[in-house]
Amino acid sequence: MIKAVLVLNTQGKPRLAKFYEFRPVEKQQELIRNVFSVLCSRAENVSNFVDAESIYGQDARLVYKHFATLYFVFIFDSSENELAMLDLIQVFVETLDKCFRNVCELDVVYNYSKMHSILDEIIIGGQVLETSSTEVIKAIEELSRLEAASNSINLVPKSVSGWRAR
């Protein structure tokens, strides 16, 4: 099971944090700090895996990938395969890239909710649900269409929309 998905930048600021088991906010922050301190102490050209038992508890593993200014981090237990998780990060990033065309850190920051929607399509309840970025994109596009539509509705003055609702 996947326990958490984190996106941090190279300064250690969280850009996205999603936990599939509840953790209080302070614990989350502590975890993010610990993860970052481990990641930034790792040299280049070493493996993408880290033993996360001291960070997250029994049987936890961590896989990360460094893209430009961002670290993508997945924390999971022994029922997942490390290499496969590495590729899941790849799927996630590829999807982001297709969604935002040349994704960069700014996109990640400003499209916070969209990031979450994308992640929700890929992982649900800590289990890998979808691994084809095309499928994810399809779902996301459908949402965006809806969003566009509803935005246009929202442009109608509030009083009118209230009237319409009746």
Partner: protein, 969 residues
């Protein structure tokens, strides 16, 4: 809105993000965020906020909370948003709620109704959003409220919904298996879904179910195998391909499931051999995901009933992994190797150099994994090298968690395989010195007991020699500053017990040292107590020997200081010591007999000497004592009650009938502390719990009738608590003497000498292979020669551990001739010639030429009689083999530095990283390459973004408009 294009957020939010990005310190960032919280608090309660604005506020709340600040004031607004009819707002609401709330939060109850409604919605996107929330927010109590809808959705026409419904059901099963146990058949049904995606999703819950209970799913083996076969043969639609692999994640899950199902089951495994070997054979080791599949096929092959061909194929893949340049693959290779050596230990020998490379790699992850592997292959011939390595690494790291872990491993290996007592003590000293505060106290006690009890019951000389060597080493170490407390305790104890035993050191010298310790660590009460007791022993032994005793002046001051100590324990010890010095010789001998630390002290557990007193008291009308198990039952009862009172306070609504009472587990650890609330409990519940108590403690059936009366007493009874005296530790000697020694020393020496032979002939031939001599040496030490002794010592692995190990070792250290049993056991494993040799081990002596290089290499092993001609003859025959292996592995080794680089080039474009990682793809990667080729035209896109950002007042720090490293950092 238009000017902000794709960003979709107001300038305010962008400003916030920007200012946080520019914050130079954590304090500044906190100030900005707190400001933002104030603004949001104010704004969010304004009347008539446009919905789109509200949505943005919610997003900002989520953002604030991600940065570690409390946003709980806005939770209720997020909850409200889930009620909205507009799907976009609803989704935002659900998103925020799933991030904010845990499943036991009070607000959940307000959402359950909405979720119920949304699950019935016609719009499948609404249903999906609701299912997402279900996975995160529904707890055991609310499951029944949504369960019927979720089950219905398993048959929804959209596959996306079916998938999510399965996941939701899976989540329910994780949370509370009992509530959905009758619905598990649904997973089996969905396995046959038309949509491969849904089928793939079903594998997640099935994997969990199967790992809990393998046997009820054996019938699915055939189906899983056929699915795997179809997937591997690319029968799925092309859209499931990922980097040209057909549905790799489904393959991986299936392999994991098969590994579970085939474990130890020959019949089931036979069905799998073909498909697994096909996958391994066709495996694509050029891509990451291909390797992931290969790795899981190895795991599967190692887990199911072994098939030699399959293992061979798996070993080949492992070889490929280990020779690879990337650390990731090496890591996987080491892990897989660890799985395979259980089945065929000789595989490790082929990869000795690769393993050593990994051990010396700068990558910590790889190193640790390698240590895990080494731990698995430790045997008495290589324990010294491995433990030394481990200690070396242990000293070098600062991560306490891992330090503790590796220290405990060192101790475990040392206890199990130590070749000599001297080495064992040295090793333990090192472990204590560097990780003393992290190791379990038990280890220290074990060490003390070991030194006290000695290692061979019939060899007193060796014991006392060992003790004096321990004393020597401790006297050397004791001067070092900042020793861990546990270690000092051991030192004090040993010095007190044996410091003057061999007569080398005078009592005043030892007591002076002890006083120094007590002074230097004056705030550590335990150490002081140990030191005082040690002093007492020293003086007592002196007096018993009839010598005149003068307390040292520093000792005198120490006693005086402790007489006034706040710690009663220290005070008592000081008084005792003072009193002892005033006694005569006979009395002292009686109080402190020499070397009596391992005598058993008889403890009368029943306190029978108090019987008369108890009888008298009862006759005078005192309440009789209630045995502990009865009290435990009471505790349990109050525990039930506690739960019942507890839960409703969180959740007012109950969706289900009360459960039937479970028979309480017979554990005695039930808390008695809540017992005082007895009176508050409604009667029927008390009855019900008393009933169950009767079930649990059948022994007290007769008393149960009157238990109503006794119940009110438990507040009083609590005082008794558990018995406080500690039962005497059974002396391990008596227990372990019956253990048969499994590892003869002759064996061990044979192995290492063989190894030295190998080295010898290797050197003389001067093979043109360039491997650093240290590495070869290490390899030799680690993988120690022929496979025969290895097989043997893998049996030694299973030898009784820790407790018995002391005796084992002691037997080991004697020559094999000493115990006939050992020989008898060996005959089972060894070919006839060896049997002959072992039958008369005292006759064969070491030819000096063998001992010398061997000593050069290892330095540490004692030169007891061992290697025989047969042994070494067998080994020399093996030489060419090993040589060729050396040759083979170097090629891989030399190219190690090639490196696996994820470019972090100045281009802030994530894609550059992407493209490299996925390199090697061909047409199947269309989607990907296309996005790369768009890069050119995309400059326009980037420029637009850039312009927009400029509008917002953000200045890019470099030429590339996509790069905002500095800014956002």
């Amino acid at each position: 809105m238009g000017s902000q294009g794709g960003f979709g957020q107001s300038k305010e939010f962008l400003d916030l993000v920007k200012s946080i990005g520019e914050a130079r310190s954590k304090a500044e960032e906190d100030r900005i965020v707190l400001n933002e919280i104030e603004t949001l608090k104010r704004r969010i309660i304004e009347p008539d906020i446009p919905k789109r604005k509200m949505k943005e506020y919610i997003i900002r709340l989520v953002y604030v909370e991600m940065l570690g600040h409390d946003a709980s004031f806005g939770y209720i607004h997020a909850v409200k948003m889930t009620h909205d009819d507009n799907i976009v707002l609803k989704r935002t609401g659900y998103l925020a709620v799933t991030l904010f709330l845990n499943e036991d939060h009070d607000l959940i109850i307000l959402i359950v109704n909405t979720i119920q409604k949304d699950l019935k919605s016609d719009n499948y996107l609404v249903v999906c959003a609701a299912l997402n929330a279900v996975c995160r927010l529904i707890n055991e109590e609310t499951i029944p409220a949504v369960l019927p809808q979720v089950i219905e959705l398993l048959g929804h026409s959209k596959e996306a919904v079916r998938k999510k419904a399965i996941m939701a059901l899976h989540r329910f099963h994780q949370k509370s298996p009992s509530s959905v146990s009758h619905l598990i058949s649904n997973f089996r049904k969905r396995l046959c879904d038309n949509d491969p995606g849904v089928m793939g999703a079903t594998l997640c819950p099935l994997f969990d179910l199967i790992s809990n209970d393998v046997n009820s799913y054996k019938d699915l083996v055939i189906s899983f195998v056929s699915i795997l076969k179809q997937v591997a043969e690319r029968r799925l639609p092309k859209s499931y391909d990922y980097h040209q692999m057909p549905a790799p994640f489904i393959q991986i899950k299936l392999l994991k499931i098969l590994a579970l199902l085939g474990s130890g089951d020959k019949q089931a495994s036979e069905n799998m051999y073909t498909v697994i070997s096909d996958i391994i054979r066709k495996g694509d080791s050029s891509s990451n995901i291909g390797n992931a599949i290969l790795y899981d096929s190895i795991c599967c092959a190692a887990s199911i009933y072994p098939n030699p061909k399959l293992i061979e194929a798996a070993a080949d893949v492992v070889a490929k992994f280990l020779k690879s340049d990337t650390h990731n693959l090496k890591y996987m290779g080491i892990d897989a190797l660890g799985r395979l050596i259980k089945l065929s230990p000789q595989i490790a020998e082929q990869h000795q150099l690769a393993v050593i490379d990994c051990l010396e790699d700068p990558d910590d992850t790889l190193k640790r994994k390698t240590f895990k592997l080494l731990y698995k292959m430790t045997k008495s011939s290589n324990v010294e090298v491995i433990v030394d390595r481990m200690i070396e690494y242990m000293i070098s790291i600062s991560d306490d968690h891992y330090k503790t872990y590796i220290a405990s491993r060192c101790v475990e290996l040392a206890e199990q395989f130590a070749p000599s007592n001297h080495w064992f003590i040295q090793t333990m000293n090192k472990v204590f010195e560097h990780a003393g505060d992290l190791v379990n106290v038990k280890v220290a006690h074990n060490l003390m007991r070991l030194i006290a009890e000695g290692f061979g019951e019939d060899d007193d000389a060796a014991d006392s020699q060992l003790r004096s060597s321990a004393v020597e080493s401790y006297l050397r170490i004791i001067g070092e500053p900042k020793l861990p407390s546990v270690f000092l305790q051991v030192i004090c104890w040993v010095l007190g017990e044996y410091g003057t035993a061999d007569g080398k050191h005078s009592a005043s010298y030892i007591s002076g040292k002890l006083c120094d310790v007590a002074e230097a660590y004056s705030d550590d009460v335990t150490v002081k107590a140990y030191a005082t007791s040690a002093l007492m022993k020293i003086y007592a032994f002196e007096m018993a020997a009839g010598r005149k005793v003068d307390l040292l002046p520093e000792c005198q001051t120490l006693i005086e200081e402790m007489l006034a100590s706040h710690s009663t324990d220290l005070q008592q010890r000081a008084y005792e010591l003072q009193a002892l010095t005033g006694l005569d010789r006979q009395a002292v001998e009686a109080i402190m007999p020499q070397d009596a630390s391992c005598e058993d002290i008889e403890v009368d557990k029943n306190l029978s000497f108090l019987n008369d007193y108890v009888q008298q008291s009862i006759e005078r009308g005192a309440q009789p004592y209630i045995p502990e198990d009865v009290r435990a039952g009471m505790g349990e009862m109050s525990n039930f009650r506690g739960q019942d009172k507890h839960e409703p306070s969180h959740h007012v609504l109950r969706f289900e009938a009360y459960e039937l009472p479970k028979a309480p587990p017979p554990s005695k650890a039930a808390p008695v502390s809540i017992a005082s609330s007895t009176d508050l409990v409604p009667v029927p519940e008390a009855l019900y719990s008393r009933e169950s108590q009767q079930i649990s403690s059948a022994a007290s059936a007769s008393e149960a009738g009157s238990s109503g009366l006794k119940l009110r007493l438990d507040g009083v009874q609590k005082k008794w608590g558990k018995p406080t005296y500690s039962s005497p530790t059974p002396s391990s000697t008596s227990e372990s003497s019956s253990q048969k020694p499994v590892n003869g020393m002759t064996q061990v020496n044979g192995a290492s000498a063989v190894n030295s032979r190998v080295r010898e002939s290797y050197d003389s031939r001067k093979a043109p292979v360039e491997i650093s001599p240290e590495k070869q040496k290490l390899a030799g030490l680690l993988f120690g020669g022929s496979s025969k002794p290895e097989r043997k010592s893998s049996a030694g692995h299973k030898a009784p551990k820790a407790n018995a190990s002391a005796a084992d070792r002691s037997q080991e250290s004697k020559t094999a001739g000493a115990s006939n049993e050992a020989v008898a056991e060996k005959t089972n494993h060894q070919p006839p010639p060896d049997l002959l040799d072992l039958g008369e081990p005292t006759v064969t002596t070491d030819p000096p030429s063998v001992v010398d290089p061997f000593k050069q290499l290892e330095g540490l092993l004692d030169s007891s009689p061992g290697p025989t001609i047969d042994h070494s003859a067998g080994a020399t025959a093996k030489v060419p083999d090993i040589m060729s292996l050396y040759g083979g592995t170097t090629t891989g080794e030399q190219s190690t530095s090639g490196g696996y680089s994820i470019p972090v080039s100045g281009e802030g474009n994530l894609l550059s990283g992407l493209s490299n990682a996925a390199a090697g793809g061909a047409p199947g990667e269309m989607t990907f390459t296309s996005s790369q080729s768009v890069k050119g035209p995309n400059a326009k896109d980037s420029l637009e973004k850039d312009a927009l950002v400029r509008q917002l007042g953000v200045n890019p720090s470099s030429q590339n408009p996509n790069l905002f490293k500095d800014l956002l950092g």
